[in-house]
Structure formats: structure tokens, C-alpha cells
């Protein structure tokens, strides 16, 4: 069996070595193209095998949902966070990508394999595939093609939506994007019924076949290819791309538009060009996420997926994580997706107190030790030794609060997950009051500046010690 698996991996591996070598010959950077692909492959394989062997089906599905949410949140970060254009129609791109990819695999399966059933490869299907099935050949290859096609069509629409943003700013642009999402939703509602058999497809007009995606009845027949492998490979590639974008001249140009459009233009940044690119890139990744979502087990694509409620779910992730922070958006996506599940199990939630209470105690003790902030010029620059203890206490309050909430809910027999929308709204309000810049602000997890409160705290301690 192992020999077979190794053989089946050889050719895709050969491909991911060959592609960078060819690209490398052009650009001179084979290694830098190779490692993200290799990492994506390794992470994907690990997720697929380890998670599925160590966890039950339900948890696996949760982890898969988290992965898709991360791609969505990071893609929206590129528009809302980098270029600062407030788009509230992101789910439109998700739906477009999902429907395009779904239509391709569904009707493609009829054309290629004679039926709509998924012909799973080794790495597709959440609940595992046949042992020794091929990798990327057959149905899996069709799935990969469909994902990319969905992403590209969504990116094309991203350009279409990006174009009005040449003339509009702020609220006005937000309204246009909202309109876009609604247009997509209504258009999908008008599509004809899904053609269920070969005969029906043969009888229908050829052009109408790929558009027969079920209208308001939903499109549940999409073959279920999505697996932890594909989702997390996509997550890795999305994260690496977003990071590289942020670090590049192009990314800086986008960030400068967010900061001050007039100044950016005066510094030679073609603001419209970068805004449209921002929309296109974000739409591409949202389309990929949509494709993954459409092929997930238990999901029936429906026009609602293009609606503004879905868009707001993504916005909440981006805003909570911090506008412009890739890692912040990813973390927030994981929390926002996973928290409702936690709310369903108050016993687990109550155990949070084990972490939360000590955090409160330690935070309080540190605050007592911290002393006053620097006076004079230091203060203006925001050096405050109390910032770090406050952050510890803040996190402690949230964690302890959740466990208290779970305790109360259990005591009175309330199902907390029924109230998750209220809880999210509350969390958003509290966040906006206490930390409007979001979890990480514009920083990334690995930015030194994020840890300045920590440094301020200890440097203030040292300075005090020196004085005493």
C-alpha cells in the first residue's frame, strides 16, 4: 500500500518541482515558488491524515469550516484592510465562485464520468476516500480545475465591482458592493432547476445547462470533494500570498490608499489601479473559498450564501481581527467560526475559568507593579507600562466571562448557541469601545511592535529598579 501511495504522490510532487524550476528559470527564484507549494502540500496531507485519524467526523467538519473562514477573512482583508475600501458584498464573490465551481464539477462529472457522483481521489472527501485512489487525476483534477475557474470568474467580477470604486468612496462604495451581493443573490434565484439526469441534460439547450443551478431551491447535488487537504493547502497558499503582498511595493501602495488617498496619489501611487487589483485579488480568493464551500459535505449552496448576512459574518472576522492584519483576520475567523460550537458545550466552556481566573490575578498583580506611565515626550508616543497588564486582564475578563456565562446558562438550562448572534453583536460593541483597532490592529502576530506593551512594561520596571 505504501509503495502505491508513494507512486501516486510522485507525479504531483514532480509537478511542484517542475513548475518552480520553469518559473525559476524565468525569474530566478525556484526555491521561493517551491516552498509555499511544498508547505501547502505537507500541511494539507498532515491535516487530512492526522485530523481524520485523531478526531471524530464532527470536529473534522468544524476544522474544515474554520479553514474556509480563514480564506474568506484573509481575502476580505485585502480589500477592507489593505486598500481600505469598505466592501460589504464579499459573499457575492463567495457565491459566484461556489456556483461556478459547483456547476463545473456537477455537469462536468456527467460529461466525463457519466454520473454526478464524486469520484474521489486520495486527498478529496472529508470522510476519506478509497484507499489507493489516484491524486489529482479523475474527479479530483476536475475539482481543482473548477476551484480555479470559480476563483478566476469571481476575480473578473471583482474588477467589475472595483471599477465603480474609482469614483466612489466610503459609504457610497459600501452601498455599491452591498448592491452587488444582492444582485448576485437575485440572479442566482432566477436560475432554472438542476438537471438531474443525462437525458435531461441532453434535452436542455446546451447554453442553459451550466446555468441550471437550482435557483432558490439550492444546489445541493454538487459532488462532495472538499477535504481538509484541499482546504488547508488553500489556506497556506492564501496566507503566504497575503503576507508577500503586504511586504511588497504593491501591498504598501494599497496600504497607503487606506491611510490617505490624496497623499498616496501625490506620491505617485496609481490609486484606481491598485483599488481594482485589490478587489480582483480578494474576489479570487473568495471564489476559491466559495468553491471549497460548495463541495463540502452537508452544504447545499443557496442564493442566501450571496446575501449580506454572510458578508457581515466575514466583515465581523476582519474587524475583530484588526483591519489590515492577516494573522488577526485568521485568528478572528477561527474564533468566530468555532465559538458557536463551544457555546453548544457549556461544560467545556466552564473549564475556561482554569485559564481565565489566573490571568485576572496575574494581570491585577502586574498592574499594581506597573506604576505610572512616563511623563513628558515618552507619554505622547504611547509608552505605557500599564498597557500590558491591562491586555492580560482584558483577555482574562473575556475568558472568565465566557465560563461564567456557561455556568449561568447551564444553571438555568439556556442553550447559549441560540444566542450566539446576540453574543457576537455584544462582542463587537465591546470591542469597538475598548479596542477599536481590533485584536491585532494593523500589526501581525510576528511584528515586534505588537509586543511593545510588554517591552514598555519591563523597561519601566527596569528604570524603576535602577532609580531605587
Amino acid at each position: 500500500m505504501t509503495a502505491l501511495v508513494i507512486w501516486q504522490f510522485l507525479w504531483p510532487f514532480g509537478l511542484i518541482i517542475l513548475v518552480p524550476v520553469v518559473l525559476g528559470a524565468i525569474g530566478g527564484s525556484a526555491w521561493r515558488v517551491f516552498w509555499p507549494l511544498a508547505l501547502a502540500l505537507v500541511v494539507g496531507v498532515l491535516m487530512q491524515h492526522q485530523v481524520r485519524t485523531n478526531m471524530d467526523a464532527y470536529s473534522s467538519k468544524q476544522i474544515l469550516d474554520v479553514g474556509i473562514a480563514i480564506i474568506l477573512a484573509v481575502s476580505l482583508t485585502i480589500v477592507n484592510g489593505f486598500t481600505g475600501q469598505f466592501s460589504i458584498g464579499h459573499a457575492g464573490f463567495l457565491a459566484v465562485g461556489g456556483y461556478v465551481a459547483g456547476s463545473i464539477t456537477y455537469y462536468g462529472s456527467f460529461a466525463l464520468f457519466g454520473s454526478a457522483g464524486a469520484t474521489l481521489g486520495t486527498m478529496s472527501g472529508l470522510y476519506g476516500a478509497k484507499e489507493g485512489a489516484a491524486f489529482v487525476t479523475g474527479g479530483e483534477g476536475l475539482f481543482l480545475f473548477a476551484l480555479l475557474a470559480g476563483g478566476l470568474i469571481a476575480a473578473l467580477l471583482g474588477v467589475v465591482v472595483g471599477l465603480p470604486s474609482l469614483r466612489l468612496r466610503g459609504d457610497y462604495l459600501a452601498i455599491v458592493t452591498l448592491g452587488f451581493g444582492e444582485i448576485v443573490r437575485v440572479l442566482i434565484q432566477q436560475t432554472p432547476q438542476v438537471l438531474m439526469s443525462k437525458d435531461a441534460i441532453a434535452a436542455a439547450k446546451p447554453l442553459s445547462v451550466p446555468l441550471s443551478v437550482g435557483g432558490s431551491l439550492g444546489f445541493g447535488n454538487v459532488p462532495k470533494y472538499t477535504s481538509l487537504f484541499w482546504v488547508y493547502a488553500a489556506v497556506v497558499l492564501t496566507l503566504i500570498f497575503a503576507y508577500r503582498l503586504k511586504q511588497s511595493s504593491t501591498g504598501r501602495a494599497m496600504l497607503s490608499i487606506r491611510e490617505d488617498e490624496i497623499a498616496a496619489e501625490a506620491m505617485g501611487v496609481k490609486t484606481t489601479y491598485y483599488k481594482v487589483w485589490g478587489f480582483a485579488i480578494a474576489a479570487f480568493f473568495a471564489g476559491i473559498a466559495g468553491g471549497l464551500y460548495a463541495h463540502t459535505i452537508g452544504i447545499s449552496l443557496s442564493p442566501v450564501d450571496a446575501g449580506f448576512q454572510k458578508s457581515f459574518d466575514i466583515i465581523i472576522m476582519v474587524v475583530l481581527g484588526g483591519l489590515g492584519s492577516i494573522s488577526g483576520a485568521a485568528i478572528a475567523a477561527a474564533i468566530v467560526t468555532y465559538l458557536p460550537e463551544l457555546l453548544r458545550t457549556p461544560d467545556t466552556l466552564m473549564k475556561f475559568a482554569v485559564v481565565g481566573v489566573p490571568m485576572l490575578v496575574i494581570g491585577g498583580a502586574l498592574l499594581a507593579m506597573a506604576g505610572k506611565p512616563d511623563q513628558g515626550p515618552g507619554k505622547k508616543r504611547g509608552h505605557d507600562p500599564r498597557a500590558f497588564p491591562r491586555a492580560v486582564i482584558g483577555l482574562g475578563v473575556i475568558i472568565t466571562g465566557l465560563s461564567i456565562l456557561a455556568f449561568v446558562a447551564k444553571r438555568f438550562g439556556i442553550n447559549l448557541s441560540d444566542y450566539r448572534l446576540i453574543l457576537f453583536a455584544l462582542a463587537l460593541i465591546v470591542m469597538m469601545i475598548t479596542r477599536p483597532q481590533g485584536l491585532l490592529g494593523v500589526r501581525e502576530l510576528w511584528d515586534g511592535a505588537l509586543y511593545r506593551p510588554l517591552r514598555d512594561f519591563f523597561s519601566a520596571r527596569r528604570a524603576e529598579g535602577g532609580a531605587a
Binding site: L23, I26, G27, G28, S29, R32, V33, F241, R244, L245, Q247, S248, S249, T250, G251, R252, A253, L255, S256, R258, E259, D260, I262, A263, A264, E265, A266, M267, G268, V269, K270, T271, W277, I281, G324, P377, K380, R381, G382, G441, V442, G448, A449
Partner: protein, 279 residues
């Protein structure tokens, strides 16, 4: 001269100029003739004219609301003139977008500081190096050799500029956290990073204390001498203007009422009238 960058503090102005070489300074003159602009019934600028030779240091003064900043906005393409001619090195700037004008070699600072506040000081300057580089999405995805080489060049350039402006020890600070005077200087550094031939400074000394003003005078003069850019500045501080500028244009109600050396301007009865009124 790459070694000068790593050896940090000892870098002198001319060392830095060496690093920044190839950034404009080609000795082209800015010619403005008969520019008019009105907003509805308000004639904001009438018959504005200016001839800024290479490496010159000229001033644009006038009472509040005289239309000085409007002139800057006309020059940099924020507004389009109703009529008139603006050329840089013989090339017309009329109808170009601000980003295109920046590319032809006109850089500016703003009266109300417009830094990229959330970005670091370093990133502010790096961004301004953006327009003299090639950049493509393929470079981002592939992290190709030339893309990284270019990033390295941008870093070096930005670092050198920050050293000239003595801001290198606050490189990683968010721009908005800088003291006011530093923010003004960072804006000039950022404008210079675009590699301009002409630098427009909108009230560079505003909000500075006497010592900062003194340093600023020295800096502006050095920037002109070392980088060879022409500078046109709007300034209300007469000490700074009279000391620095070779020639001064005075605007009043959008009309240029006088033009000449600081000495001539000080004596000009029309100017005195515009500022102090008639007896």
C-alpha cells in the same frame, strides 16, 4: 557607496546624495503661464505665472486665503486649471493625474500633514520610492530575484534618506506618533523619496519652535544644494522666507501682485498694502 548605509550614523549629506543618485535632479525648470482657476463664481487664482529654474529656491507668500495652496493643487493636478500652461522640462502637466505628475518629477508636502499615520516612518518613505520601481503581481507571487533586489534597493534608499533627515532612530515608530516637527520633516523626506525635480513645500515651518525652524532652514538649503532639486515653498514665517528664498511671488486674492527678490518684496508698496492695509 553601499557601504555608507551600513555604517549608519557617520553618513554625511553628500554620501546620502550618492546613494540617492538617479533620483531626478536633472535640472529641468517649471514654467507656469497664465493659469486661471475659479470655483463657481469665486475666482481663486487669476493669471498665475511662475518660472522656476533648476536648483532654485523660490517662495510663494500672501495673506490667508490668497490662493497659495490652490496654486499647489493646480500644479500637482489635484485641480485642473481653467486655462493656462504648466510645463516641467518642456512637458505639459495639464490634464495629468496627480500620480502621473508625481512621476514626471513634481513632489509636494501638505499644509495639514498627510502622512500615512498607521504605517511606520520607514514604510512611509519606502512607499514613496514606489514610483521609480517596476512592480508586478507576478513579482509578489513568485518573490523573484529582481523583486527582492528591488526591495533591498528601496530599503537602502529609504534608510539613507531617513539618515539625512535624522529620523533613522525612529524608523519603526508609527508616523502618527512622531512629534509635530518630525512629522513635517518626514513629509519632506517622503516627498524627496519620489525622486523629484521640483519640490513643493506647503508651510514647512508651521507649528515649529524657533530651534526647529532654524534647523529646517539649514535642511531646506542643504536639500536644494545636495539633491539639486528646485524648491517652491509657501510659508507664513517671514524670517524663513526672507532668509531662504531667492525670489518671491506674492499672491493676493488669487492675483500675483508682486514678484522679485526678498529685498524688493519688502519694499514693494503693494505687498505692504496687501498685508497691512492702506493708511
Amino acid at each position: 557607496m553601499t557601504s555608507t548605509v551600513s555604517s549608519a550614523i557617520s553618513m554625511t549629506m553628500s554620501d546620502a546624495a550618492e546613494v540617492l543618485k538617479g533620483s531626478g535632479a536633472a535640472g529641468e525648470s517649471l514654467e507656469v503661464r497664465g493659469v486661471f482657476k475659479s470655483f463657481g463664481g469665486l475666482k481663486a487664482v487669476q493669471d498665475f505665472r511662475l518660472s522656476l529654474p533648476p536648483a532654485a529656491l523660490y517662495g510663494l507668500i500672501g495673506p490667508n486665503g490668497a490662493g497659495k495652496t490652490t496654486c499647489f493643487n493646480l500644479l500637482t493636478g489635484v485641480y485642473r486649471p481653467d486655462q493656462g500652461e504648466i510645463t516641467l522640462g518642456g512637458k505639459s502637466l495639464i490634464g495629468l493625474r496627480p500620480s502621473e505628475i508625481a512621476f514626471t518629477g513634481l513632489a509636494r508636502t501638505f499644509q495639514n500633514i498627510r502622512l500615512f499615520g498607521e504605517l511606520s516612518v520607514f514604510e512611509n518613505v519606502k512607499l514613496a520610492c514606489h514610483l521609480r520601481t517596476t512592480h508586478s503581481l507576478a513579482g509578489v507571487i513568485l518573490r523573484s530575484g529582481w523583486q527582492r533586489a528591488e526591495e533591498a534597493a528601496i530599503r537602502e534608499r529609504a534608510r539613507a534618506l531617513l539618515q539625512v533627515f535624522n529620523l533613522h532612530d525612529r524608523m519603526d515608530e508609527s508616523a502618527r506618533n512622531l512629534p509635530y516637527g518630525d512629522q513635517r520633516r518626514l513629509e519632506i523626506a517622503r516627498a524627496l523619496a519620489t525622486g523629484p525635480k521640483v519640490l513643493l513645500l506647503d508651510e514647512p515651518a508651521a507649528g515649529m519652535n524657533p530651534q526647529e525652524k532654524k534647523d529646517l532652514r539649514k535642511l531646506i538649503r542643504e536639500v536644494r544644494d545636495v539633491f539639486g532639486v528646485s524648491i517652491l515653498m509657501i510659508e507664513h514665517d517671514m524670517g524663513v522666507v526672507m532668509d531662504l528664498c531667492e525670489r518671491i511671488t506674492v499672491l493676493d486674492y488669487g492675483v500675483p501682485i508682486a514678484e522679485g527678490t526678498p529685498h524688493e518684496i519688502q519694499k514693494n508698496p503693494k505687498v505692504i498694502e496687501a498685508y497691512l492695509g492702506k493708511e
